[in-house]
């Protein structure tokens, strides 16, 4: 935490025995790893080295094959071909037990901890044999591992009472306690608040200083630039290139990742002017309008519709006033309220960002707004129509568009793209008693083109990639021209191209005068898109600020419950 993170700065100084040309034997050497699932090649002859003392980042879009590769290394997936060498010797890794024996440790996004047990017990679990447990030795083990990691951990704390960041530390301790020398971290920062990210990075530097090798999987360019020594970019199961981080600019890496130059979509002038290049091809007129808006802002030219500072009140054409008002919304849970009296208004033509660490009531709030759950008390109104406790049909009819975090719960995987596209709007596609199949197909073809969905109308939607599925959901929602839009984690798990597309669409809606409630755990996304950011903590809104005045540090403190609403 002490070290100020310098954006774009070079990678951490190379550790003495790593990085250079005359390197010693790599800790891990993957050669020609191949893996197919059905007809899909997820690993296509991957070569990868990890040196002692090195942080080697594995960068790639979702579905590029990062996680599969790491699962192969950890023995969770068996490869179709290729070899794995540990310390220069061929290793047969057929199960996680083999991997652990080969000194490999892995921490995934979903922790494998027993919540009711203490830290010590969790560590002992993985090495308990028959006979008595030696708790004292266990505590010593925790202390020893914590010392190596450079963090303080109470060995007798119950795991479920720890914060997510602390739980992640326990996971790393578990790996260290098994004497691992290779640590695989799969998207480790996805669940962390900014402060915890700093702690994690300090720990990673400490471990590599002790000669460990760390494989750091991420699709966040900024983090990769900061923490890693070398980056391997994975695209469609192939390593595009492995480069020293110090010499690679984020733009270069992003281009390698997606295979074409990209730019970020921004609400306001935060990016350097040259970053505002051609946006993703969008034929939708609204989107073009928004793109124009973004370009103007990015270029720093004042525009009538988009004066910095006047964003909150700037309603788009056609609509004005509150499109989504939430008053005193409560939702009871076990023991305490999951939503503890939320008051929030989204105006026409603004994007309100809801920040928060996951599990603080965002999911439930979205469920209530979508009509999937009844609040205990309070009211919700869409465009002036009261929809408190209404079912999804009425909520949709009132003009609310909905994008939830769980895409798969919103589509019927075995039905076709075309059928899913009309599922919310069946009466419109009736002709007599039956459905008008021609109209349904035409509707699908139009949206597929408009939203550049890579699919045919008859494809079962379950076969689509996450990004394309999300585009279908966006298309379905936006085709009804919603007055207000709730978008929860709309870009989670999407690649750069799809993320950019979603962002452009959200901005287009805003420009068209809709109000958007954007729920996201990605601060960068919120800062880039939102006009206003509110922070949710333990079911209550604890802070609100214009996005222009928001900084990650303060948001992080609010998200962690460190400072209250009064601050």
């Amino acid at each position: 935490m002490s070290e100020p993170p310098a954006p774009g700065s070079s990678a951490p100084s190379a550790v003495s025995n790593g990085g250079t040309g005359s390197a010693p034997v790599p800790l891990v050497r993957l050669r020609g790893i191949e893996k197919s699932f059905g007809d899909l090649r997820v690993s296509d002859g991957v070569d990868l080295d990890l040196m002692p003392g090195e942080v080697h980042a594995l960068l790639g879009e979702n579905g590029a094959g990062k996680t599969t590769l790491m699962r192969i290394l950890y023995g969770l997936t068996s490869p179709d071909g290729g070899t794995i060498e540990i310390d220069g010797a061929p290793a047969a890794i057929g199960s996680p037990a083999d991997a652990i024996a080969a000194v490999i440790g892995m921490v995934t996004q979903h922790f494998s901890l027993v919540g009711r047990m203490t830290v010590t017990e969790n560590l002992l679990l993985s090495r308990a044999g028959l006979g008595r447990l030696d708790r004292r030795a266990g505590r010593a083990m925790v202390a020893d591992a914590a010392d190596r990691l450079g963090v303080r951990v109470d060995p007798d704390a119950t795991v479920e009472k720890l914060s997510v960041g602390e739980q992640q530390r326990v996971e790393i301790l578990k790996a260290l306690a098994r004497d691992c020398r290779v640590l695989i971290l799969d998207e480790p920062t996805a669940v962390l608040v900014p402060q915890d990210v700093e702690v994690l990075f300090d720990s990673i530097r400490r471990l590599t200083g002790q000669g460990m090798g760390v494989l750091f999987i991420s699709h966040k360019l900024g983090e990769v630039s900061r923490i890693s020594h070398r980056v391997s970019v994975l695209r469609r199961g192939r390593i595009i290139d492995t480069v020293p981080t110090a010499g690679a600019s984020p733009a270069q890496l992003a281009e390698m990742m997606v295979g074409r130059p990209t730019v970020g979509v921004r609400r306001a002038d935060r990016a350097a002017p040259q970053d505002a290049g051609p946006l993703a091809a969008v034929t939708d007129a609204d989107a073009e309008q928004a793109a124009g808006l973004v370009d103007q802002r990015a270029a720093g030219q004042p525009s009538v519709a988009a004066q910095p500072g006047a964003v909150t009140g700037a309603a788009g054409p056609g609509r004005a006033g509150a499109v989504l008002s939430i008053r005193g919304l409560r939702l009871g849970g076990r023991g305490k309220d999951v939503l503890a009296g939320i008051d929030l208004t989204v105006q026409a033509g603004e994007i309100v960002g809801l920040a928060g660490v996951s599990g603080n009531g965002q999911t439930e709030l979205v469920q209530v707004l979508c009509g999937l759950e009844r609040p205990t008390s309070g009211t919700v109104a869409v465009n002036g129509v009261d929809v408190t406790g209404a079912d999804p049909e009425r909520v949709i009819a009132a003009g609310l568009g909905r994008i939830t975090e769980d895409r798969h719960a919103c589509v019927v995987g075995k039905l076709s793209v075309a059928q899913n596209l009309v599922l919310e709007d069946l009466p419109r596609f009736r002709r007599g008693l039956l459905l008008d199949r021609k109209a349904i197909r035409a509707h699908a073809e139009r949206l597929i083109e408009q939203f550049s969905i890579k699919a045919k109308p008859d494809d079962p939607i379950g076969t689509l990639s996450g990004g394309n599925m999300q585009k279908v959901l966006l298309a379905r929602t936006l085709a009804r021209d919603p007055v207000a839009l709730v978008a929860s984690q709309p870009t989670r798990g999407l690649d750069v191209g799809a993320t950019e597309f979603v962002h452009t669409e959200l901005l287009a809606r805003r420009a068209a005068g809709a109000g958007v409630l954007l729920v996201s755990e990605d601060l960068e996304e919120l800062l880039a898109l939102a006009d206003r950011i509110v922070v949710i903590y333990e079911g209550a809104l604890v802070g609100e600020m214009p996005a222009d005045e928001a900084d990650p540090e303060r948001l992080g403190l609010l998200m962690a419950g460190q400072i209250g609403a009064a601050a």
């Binding site: 192969i72 057929g94 909520v395």
Partner: protein, 366 residues
């Protein structure tokens, strides 16, 4: 070497028919021994089972006759299963339908045919709805598993039939079989002189109607969405519970219609044997028919074919009549097992010596 199932990317068009042929060959190999053991030539037996019933007009009508009740129950089950309502109670609903038709036929004996038959069919369908109402409501209101409740109501329906036949409806000859229904309740033959009655036309119309509703209507799409993903259906504004309730009741109505049709078309009176497990066979028919109306029709006819063939084989070849059931049951099993390969393909691969699972050695060359 180890055998593993690997997910297929895409299913080739020729696959399903080829797999069915493979299943038939497997069944042939499996049953050849027992058939020979029973003293018959397997090849001749197979000819009797499958081909002979289709060679004469008279036996073809028998095949159709045998298929009618399982057409009804198969369609009933398919409608329910499509919506994700696991109605195992078609047997009970079929019996309830038979009771419903008998009530009308016994107490309104003198009605003329054009009134009597629709009325009795309606009564049967209504009885089927009544019999399916309780489990459906329990499921929709309280989330009580319909598999258990519908299943448990089957013996209750049979006991009700037995109770009625041993009590108020005991025949005038003293046997536990009801008296004949009124003369207007005799379902006319489709082809004069044959035993095939108009029930087959009703079933065919029903099958076509179900096919159209399922594939072309908003109702059908909603129902399928509910069956495939209740959460997504709910999210999309579909009233999931209402859809489930309706499909459960429609399913009961179809099964009840089948029971009524069986009484009017075949027995003209109620007996304990009015259903020979048609409701349970309906589950097999629906599942094998991939829950589609067309599939149900094909499977029901195939089962009818084997049923008639088995009678023939036991007469001519002196094979035990159970052999027919063995063949048809094995055929069902084989088809279901083999059709797994529509989605998976088999791969043989070497196993690494030291890993306990099926995981191959990463070091091994391909």
């Amino acid at each position: 070497m180890s055998l593993r199932l690997v997910l297929r990317g895409r299913e080739p068009r020729w696959l399903a028919p080829v797999l069915v042929i493979v299943a038939v060959v497997i069944v042939f190999l499996l049953t050849a021994g027992p058939i020979r053991g029973a003293g018959a030539n397997p090849q001749a037996a197979y000819q009797r089972y499958v081909l002979t019933p289709l060679t004469g007009t008279a036996s073809v009508t028998e095949v159709v006759l045998a298929a009618i009740p399982i057409l009804f129950t198969g369609l009933a089950v398919a409608v329910a299963f499509r919506s994700g309502y696991w109605n195992i109670g078609a047997e009970g609903q079929f019996l309830a339908g038979a009771i419903g038709a008998t009530v009308v036929g016994l107490y309104l004996r003198d009605l003329p045919g054009p009134v009597a038959i629709p009325l009795a069919l309606l009564a049967g369908a209504a009885a089927g709805v009544v019999w399916s109402l309780l489990p459906a409501l329990l499921r929709v209101r309280f989330g009580i598993d319909e598999v258990v409740t519908t299943l448990l109501l089957n013996p209750v329906a049979l006991l009700l039939v037995q109770g009625l036949l041993n009590g108020p409806w005991r025949g005038s000859n003293g046997f536990p079989v009801s008296d004949e229904l009124g003369p207007g309740y005799r379902m006319p033959a489709v082809i004069p002189g044959s035993r095939v009655h108009w029930g087959v036309v009703i079933a065919a119309v029903l099958a076509i109607a179900i096919w159209i509703v399922m594939s072309r209507s908003a109702t059908g799409l909603r129902l399928r969405a509910v069956g495939l993903s209740p959460a997504a259906a709910r999210f999309s504004g579909i009233a999931v519970r209402r859809t489930l309730l309706r499909s459960a009741l429609v399913s009961g109505a179809i099964a009840g219609l089948g029971g009524a049709d069986q009484v009017l078309g075949v027995g003209h009176k109620l007996s304990q044997e009015v259903s020979s497990s048609y409701g349970y066979t309906g589950i097999v028919v629906a599942t094998l028919g991939a829950l589609t109306a067309g599939g149900v029709v094909l499977v029901a006819l195939l089962l009818g074919d084997i049923t008639v063939g088995a009678q023939n084989a036991s007469l001519v070849l002196q094979l035990p009549p159970q052999m027919g059931e063995i063949v048809s049951s094995l055929l069902m099993l084989a088809v279901v097992s083999v059709l797994v390969l529509r989605r998976y393909k088999i791969s043989w691969r070497r196993v690494a010596a030291r890993s306990p699972g099926a995981a191959p050695s990463p070091g091994g060359s391909r």
